[in-house]
Symmetry: C2
Subunit: 124 residues, 2 copies
């Protein structure tokens, strides 16, 4: 990911309403959530929600597919991953000495692969 793209992806997330939507979808997993359920959960008017879903979608952070009359939106993890990689890039490649504070995060991410018992939810 390069600068221009990263900035626009960040600006999609730089909004309390959209960040809430995105987190909800990340938490929900690959199965996604219907637009209506998101609206109910976040108590947002339909038109406002729709506008925000469009922004996130256009940024590549989520995607929606029709399911009957509903549309089910899901987070695109690869995109978030690319964004985080961009943000970590300079720190880890250019200045290895200054990214020690990020170790805690790395450890946290690393924990994910260590507990197979939790993985049964993945099927959803």
């Amino acid at each position: 990911m390069e600068m221009r793209e990263a900035a626009s992806t960040l600006s999609a997330l730089a909004h309390e309403g959209r960040l809430s939507i995105f987190r909800l979808l990340v938490r929900a997993g690959p199965g996604g959530v219907r637009a209506g359920e998101i609206a109910a959960e976040l108590a947002a008017p339909a038109s406002t929600l729709s506008a925000n879903l469009t922004v996130l979608s256009h940024a590549g952070l989520i995607e929606g597919r029709r399911e009957g009359r509903a549309i089910r939106y899901a987070a695109r993890y690869g995109r978030m991953s690319a964004l985080l990689a961009f943000l970590l890039d300079d720190c880890c490649n250019g200045r290895p000495d200054v990214c020690a504070p990020l170790m805690g995060i790395a450890t946290r991410a690393a924990c994910c692969a260590d507990d197979p018992a939790e993985h049964d939810i993945a099927a959803l």
Copy 2:
């Protein structure tokens, strides 16, 4: 870090000019860079640059200290770390199964602590 704070920190970075500044400072390391040098490097008018430095500063992502007539700005790594932790939070705690794509990044961050030879600069 909670939602409101994360959104406003993200919006500080969600701007091509400010993202360039921040990356420059991250790359530069804890020693920081003078405002004038940043302006020269990025070919930005002084007043525009100053406004952007203020935004980043107010978001806690950088800090400046006076050094004679110049002001030297440096990245605040802890803040970036907190932001990344927030973004990783749901994925790793709520849905451990979906953060596999982030492993590459974690590995990259983990590499930083493995070469003690580089760490002498950290004291600065």
